[in-house]
């Protein structure tokens, strides 16, 4: 009886997708910009696809043209010199996680990359995609702002450089125009005595969208005792990742060992007004933000304390 059905897999292929669509995968950035200027809003730019294909799940037929950046080698390079690092927008999270230069100069960018999704996601997802997608929970974004990253935006007509903190306008909203591409991320090499800490809170260890995240980058003066510069940036507690500016006056110019961690934690909590959503309530986020600010300072104290003993 079973045999009457024959091969249960013989019918493949008749489920072919039929809706027409165009696809471009240029080798050069200039070609990509030409295509962009021609198709404008009609074309979808695809990098790693780990956000885009989730958004378009079950409605890929709505995309009438794709611009795939996979063949543009220049977008995959990570270059470093004495003053800065340039990270091509197509660099994957796995690259960020494993790059020796990034580990050395921007340890929390590397850690944030290693906290993203899963091996499968990190192998495909890119830094450029993470930025352009502009999720309030985007894992790389607080660290990028804290390290004073700048983004290079290019179009067929012009190029510009913009600071990370000026780039994000709201959830999924940025200043990027439809004819523009984000080509690279430029980050200055941090000062000698720079310490940093990254904490991401969520419900599990993998494949987790942050409920709250915090990036703290702090540099000391030459004496390695007085704070010269600090940035505390938060994710998932507002419509964009952002810096708590009020922290600066409480920390810059002070002796690190005289800081009141509790007070600073409270200050961070007082400066945020998160929302309730599926990942956490407002109250939970406020309390946790305060705690992770304190934890971040404690972590820095540990490494800084070691350098004091040496």
């Amino acid at each position: 009886m079973e045999a009457s059905f024959g091969d249960l897999k013989k019918g493949q292929k008749n489920c072919q997708r039929t809706v027409p669509c165009q696809y471009f995968a240029p080798q050069k950035i200039e070609e990509a910009l030409e295509i962009l200027s021609k198709y404008g809003k009609e074309i979808k730019i695809i990098a790693g696809g780990t956000d885009l294909l989730v958004q378009y799940y079950d409605r890929l037929y709505e995309v009438s043209a794709w611009l795939d950046l996979k063949n543009i080698e220049e977008l995959k390079e990570i270059k470093i010199d004495q003053n800065q690092i340039e990270i091509g927008a197509m660099s994957t999270h796995t690259q960020l996680e494993s790059s020796a230069d990034i580990k050395r100069y921007y340890p929390i960018l590397s850690q944030a990359a290693s906290d993203i999704g899963s091996p499968q996601i990190r192998n495909r997802g890119t830094i450029g995609g993470n930025i352009v997608n502009a999720s309030p929970a985007g894992d790389l974004l607080p660290a990028l702002i804290a390290y004073r990253a700048q983004f290079k935006l290019v179009s067929h007509k012009e190029e510009s450089i913009v600071s990370a903190e000026d780039f994000f306008l709201g959830p999924k909203k940025t200043i990027l125009k439809f004819e523009q591409l984000l080509s690279k991320i430029i980050i200055p090499i941090p000062e000698q005595n720079t310490y940093s800490s990254w904490i991401k809170i969520g419900k599990r260890k993998a494949l987790m969208v942050a409920t709250v995240s915090l990036a703290l980058v702090l540099s000391m003066a030459e004496d390695n005792k007085i704070i010269q510069e600090v940035k505390v940036c938060l994710g998932s507690v507002a419509s964009t990742p952002f810096e708590i500016m009020e922290i600066r006056e409480k920390m810059i110019g002070r002796q690190f060992k005289q800081l009141d961690f509790n007070e600073l934690g409270q200050l961070v909590e007082d400066r945020i007004s998160p929302i309730d959503d599926i990942r956490g309530t407002k109250g939970y986020r406020q309390e946790v933000t305060k705690n992770i600010m304190i934890n971040a300072l404690e972590k820095i104290q540990e490494t800084w304390g070691q350098s004091q003993n040496d």
Partner: protein
């Protein structure tokens, strides 16, 4: 341009195929190439059932457009071993009782495979991280971790065997 010709190496075989650009890699593998060992559990990169190895890297084939895989070298579960000649990891999964409903198994085995290629002697934490993109709802993972540990022993034995 409705159809796009792409060429890729799947399980050591060269495949030339015409697809529409919005085809996902998982659909290409399952619908066009009849490689239904690659499973779809969520379609959003959360479950890992669709995991394949592409150009030496673990990817979720539901989050890759087929044209993105043009020119790629891909290994699916069908490329790992056959019933008469199982891969040591497949054997270890069987022996450790790491297979229940089996829906996560192809992706899980490929994740294990990739992990052991990169790091032949992972510790338990590294094993957990290596399979962190693959959900299993039946086993509670313990037996899967045991199977991977057993694979480590098997593979290092067969390597030293080769050296002799």
């Amino acid at each position: 341009m409705t159809k796009l010709k792409i060429e890729l190496m799947v399980n050591r075989k060269k495949r030339k195929i015409e697809i529409t650009p919005s085809t996902r890699l998982i659909d290409l593998l399952r619908d066009d190439l009849q490689l239904t060992g690659t499973k779809e559990g969520c379609g959003k990169g959360e479950c890992g059932a669709c995991t394949v190895i592409m150009n030496g890297e673990l990817v979720a084939s539901c989050l890759v457009l087929a044209p993105q895989a043009d020119g790629a070298v891909i290994t699916t579960i069908e490329g790992l071993g056959s019933s008469d000649h199982l891969d040591p990891i497949q054997e270890a999964f069987i022996e450790s009782g790491a297979v229940q409903c089996g829906f996560c198994t192809p992706g899980m085995i490929l994740a294990a495979r990739r992990l052991l290629e990169e790091n032949p002697h992972p510790d338990e934490e590294e094993i957990k991280r290596g399979i962190s993109g693959n959900l299993c709802r039946c086993t509670g993972y313990q037996k899967i971790i045991e199977a991977i540990k057993l694979s480590i022993a098997r593979l290092s034995k067969s390597d030293s065997g080769k050296a002799k």
